[in-house]
């Protein structure tokens, strides 16, 4: 009956139906009175939950599917992350599946050209190359891997090939936050959560353009003002952005000056006696030294060390005004004020990114603004599963799943036991981190690489030294669209994307979210997870000993309910089995070793994500944790401790406050290169634009790269919007159209260029200097010459 009715609808009546449905939905989201299932049903249209494909916020979306295609996307009102809201990228996520140039068949380069091949040929070619030199092969992935994709690669590489050369592109965006937390309180990932965004009195953005990079979380803060709440926003940045438009205070600093600013705040707090002595004595030790280990120091020594950071010194080094520094100190000194610090790439992509992360914890610890609703230091994440996959699974050169380290013999033994591997299979030496990995490829020390879910030929720094050498190596690229990296590939594997496969992501606030496959991938595209298992199986057939566990069974052996092995290396079997569920349950025991304790799969199916640690309470219910290390919230905190850093290095429940000095940038403007160059993202495009540029709406809104200039600099150089401008650094040059007085305004003497545009590779110009602790490159500052063409 319904189908008949639907078939006879005119286009106009159907449009009116959709319009009223959309209006009712928006009203429900707005008023908070949306009732599950209350929206009118339309024939053949089914709605399913999923996390958004794009950033690390982890918004929930409802995906509308009809006749095997995604036909609509709306925010999920039941998801506590976004409560029905979406950004421009999120509500176009469905369209990103349907670009005309989706990769739909495997390709192998023959005589310099990529030609169609069968899956059998492609898998065999990869396996034989791996067999030839398994120890000189690397795997490069991303924070867009699902949890199980990352886990499978770790098992394949570290547990199977005995090779630690695995690293993700998260090295380029989150590594400084990871090492910052490890060196501060001994374990990765934040204590706080998005609930703190609703409770803070003051939000401080540290080099963070949230309005464009995390727009839904930004709306969550701005929305509070609309409700009449008083929430102060302080934007500490090197560039006026859309976030600045909503800020009460804009504090512009000289690149790298952030190190001095935070030390300056701490100095003022201690000098004036307006720090939280009791909190510090109860929860902190002091540490000095440039590395991750450091040496103990006393509070008095720390206070003396800070005496360098007088307002006069900070003004000189960082270029801020003393009253601005005092304003920041006053906010932290006010015992009743709830202060939330937020940061992302501005702090992390920094040659002292780890130090900068340490310093932000310093100021929150000194002021006791930690572990209380609205008061915390919170590192935002860039990718949808940078936390869930790269950090929790540990798809890093030095790591193993669940916070384990390859250099630790006991940790290796634990992982070998859980993977049923013979002892000694996992090597002790860490592999190459991202930048070093591609350097080793260029030098020929690594002979091949498999790249999944990322586009390093556009996103790595100082690109010009890389591209030609990569062509000489064996490069496998799994992706959904042609990219700058597939241009260099020997083998291209067409991948399934987002809701074309089963998956799990983990977002910025420790929330693990699950979704089911909703539609089929196009053509011959197949899951990245299957690709890894298929190559492993081919290696097993070719006799590689690492593809067997200690009992002689294939490494990826999973069994059905009757105990029969599932032949999941066969695509037709893989598609019938939820391998994601099987592998996730294999992974969960790893997460218990460092008390991450992820929720069981079936709980995640029912929920809109759960924040770990997730443990059973006295009633037998699985309970998530909003704030880690906080008594009454985190089940691992002992009664009476208030806040307990139970992975603190000294095992006494305390964290470190670090003496980390100001250090000049690795490259500064001079007569020849007189401007600062900063790079970054834009609202409309996801990273290198390979998906969002296939969405016409997003492409039209932001069709190409540009260089932003300060109006005074532009006037001095005779440059107007639209003029062609040549940018030149010590590493390369690029011509771009100018944008003056547009969306953002960089500080005088600096320019900004987005990195999404493949035809304008700004990373040919950027510096590849990196933080020595996190190995994360600094994309935010180098010296550049600017001239009108």
């Amino acid at each position: 009956m319904k189908e008949t009715q639907a078939a006879t609808w005119t286009a106009a009546s159907r449009r009116e139906f959709i319009k009223q449905m959309a209006l009712a939905f928006a009203g429900g989201v707005l008023t908070g009175h949306w009732i599950r299932g209350a929206e009118p049903a339309e024939a053949g249209l089914a709605w399913h939950k999923a996390p958004c494909r794009f950033c690390g916020t982890g918004c929930g979306v409802l995906v509308g599917v009809r006749n095997g295609r995604v036909v609509a996307v709306q925010g999920d009102p039941e998801n506590p992350v976004n409560r029905g809201l979406l950004c421009a990228k999120g509500y176009h996520a469905g369209l990103a599946l349907y670009g005309r140039d989706r990769l739909t068949t495997p390709l192998i380069r023959r005589n310099g050209r990529l030609e169609p091949a069968t899956w059998e040929e492609a898998i065999d070619r990869i396996a034989r190359e791996l067999l030839r030199s398994p120890s000189t092969f690397a795997f490069y992935g991303s924070g867009q891997w699902t949890i199980c994709e990352g886990f499978a690669v770790m098992k394949f590489m570290k547990g199977g090939l005995g090779n630690n050369h695995v690293d993700p592109n998260a090295r380029l965006c989150m590594a400084s936050a990871v090492v910052g937390m490890l060196t501060t309180y001994g374990v990765d990932e934040p204590s706080g959560c998005y609930d703190d965004f609703d409770a803070a009195d003051t939000v401080i953005l540290w080099g963070n353009n949230m309005a464009e990079m995390h727009p839904v979380l930004w709306s969550r803060i701005v929305d509070r003002r609309t409700r009449g709440e008083r929430v102060e926003i302080i934007d500490v940045a090197t560039r006026r952005t859309r976030s600045t438009e909503e800020a009460d205070h804009y504090i512009e600093f000289r690149p790298q000056g952030d190190l001095a600013i935070v030390n300056g705040i701490c100095h003022l707090l201690i000098r004036s006696g307006r720090y939280d002595r009791a909190w510090v004595e109860r929860h902190c030790h002091f540490r000095k030294g440039p590395d991750a280990e450091g040496e103990p120091m006393t509070f008095e020594e720390f206070a003396r060390w800070l005496e360098t950071y007088t307002p006069e010194y900070v003004v000189k080094v960082a270029g801020v005004r003393s009253d601005q520094l005092q304003l920041l100190a006053d906010r932290f000194a006010d015992p009743t004020r709830r202060v939330l610090s937020l940061w992302c790439m501005g702090v992390n992509q920094h040659t002292r990114g780890t130090w900068m992360n340490n310093l932000l914890y310093n100021v929150h610890f000194l002021s006791g603004k930690f572990g209380k609703p609205g008061s915390t230091a919170f590192s935002l994440t860039g990718q949808p599963s940078a936390c869930g996959t790269c950090r929790e699974v540990g798809t890093l050169a030095h790591a193993l799943p669940g916070g384990r380290l390859v250099a630790n013999e006991e940790h290796r033994r634990q992982c070998e036991e859980l993977w049923k591997l013979p002892p000694g299979r996992i090597p002790a030496k860490p592999g190459y981190h991202a930048v070093a990995m591609f350097d080793a490829l260029a030098r020929g020390e690594l002979t091949g690489i498999w790249i999944q879910v990322t586009n390093p030929a556009q996103s790595l720094p100082n690109l010009h030294k890389l591209a030609d050498r990569l062509r000489e190596r064996f490069v496998v690229v799994s992706d959904v669209y042609p990219t700058a990296t597939t241009e260099l590939a020997t083998v291209v594997l067409p991948s399934a994307m987002w809701v074309e496969k089963n998956g799990l992501y983990g977002n910025s606030e420790r929330r693990t979210q699950q979704w089911f496959r909703l539609v089929d991938p196009p053509g011959q595209a197949r899951d990245d997870l299957w690709q890894v298992i298929a190559v492993a199986r081919r290696l097993y057939e070719l006799g590689h000993p690492g593809m067997k566990d200690r009992d002689g069974e294939f490494l990826f052996t999973y069994k059905d309910e009757q105990g029969r092995p599932l032949e999941i290396w066969k695509w037709e079997v893989f598609r019938q089995v939820n391998v994601s569920r099987l592998m996730y349950e294999e992974y969960r025991p790893f997460t218990e070793m460092k008390r991450y304790c992820l929720a069981p799969y079936e709980e995640l199916v029912k929920a809109r994500g759960m924040r770990w640690p997730v443990v059973k309470d006295a009633t037998g219910r699985w309970r998530e944790t909003a704030r880690r290390f906080v008594e009454g919230e985190d089940p691992f905190v002992q009664p009476g401790r208030g806040v307990e850093f139970y992975w603190g290095k000294l095992r006494d429940g305390k964290a470190f406050i670090w003496a980390r000095p100001y250090e000049p940038p690795p490259e500064v403007p001079d007569d020849r290169y007189p401007f600062w160059l900063c790079t970054g993202r834009v609202l409309e495009h996801w990273h290198t634009g390979t998906m969002t540029r296939r969405v016409p709406q997003l492409h039209r809104a932001m069709p190409g790269a540009y260089v932003e200039l300060h109006p005074e600099d532009a006037a001095r150089l005779g440059i107007r919007t639209g003029d062609r401008v040549r940018l030149r650094t010590r590493r390369g040059e690029l011509v771009l159209p100018a944008w003056v007085g547009g969306r953002s305004t960089p500080a005088r003497g600096s320019v900004f260029v987005p990195f999404f545009a493949e035809e304008a590779l700004i990373n040919r110009l950027t510096l590849d200097a990196f933080c020595p602790l996190s190995k994360e490159p600094d994309y935010k500052k180098c010296a550049v010459a600017v001239e009108k063409v």
Binding site: R15, L23, A26, R69, A88, Y91, E758
Partner: protein, 87 residues
């Protein structure tokens, strides 16, 4: 013809002004109101017009932010892709 649902974040005091401004806009309908803002849906001839509509909404006096919450594009689904994408 894409259908797009938005929340316009605007103060209660500004809502009447925003409603009045929207009254004459073709394809636009205002739904529920709340202290946070207004629910709005827009039907536009094509995606380019949808882009322009969003910009127009963002430019209305009193509107602090335009938050899209849903997008229905089924009728245009055969023509997304890479028109104009330079590679």
């Amino acid at each position: 013809m894409p259908v797009t649902a938005y929340i316009l974040l605007c103060r209660t005091a500004d809502q009447e002004r925003v409603r009045a401004a929207l009254a004459g806009w073709e394809g636009v309908e205002v739904g529920a109101a709340h202290v946070r803002g207004l629910a709005v849906v827009a039907v536009t001839p094509d995606e380019a017009a949808a882009d322009a509509m969003r910009e127009r909404l963002a430019g209305l006096p009193g509107v602090r932010e335009v938050v899209p919450v849903g997008h229905y594009t089924e009728e245009d689904w055969d023509d997304p892709a890479t028109n104009g994408v330079q590679r």
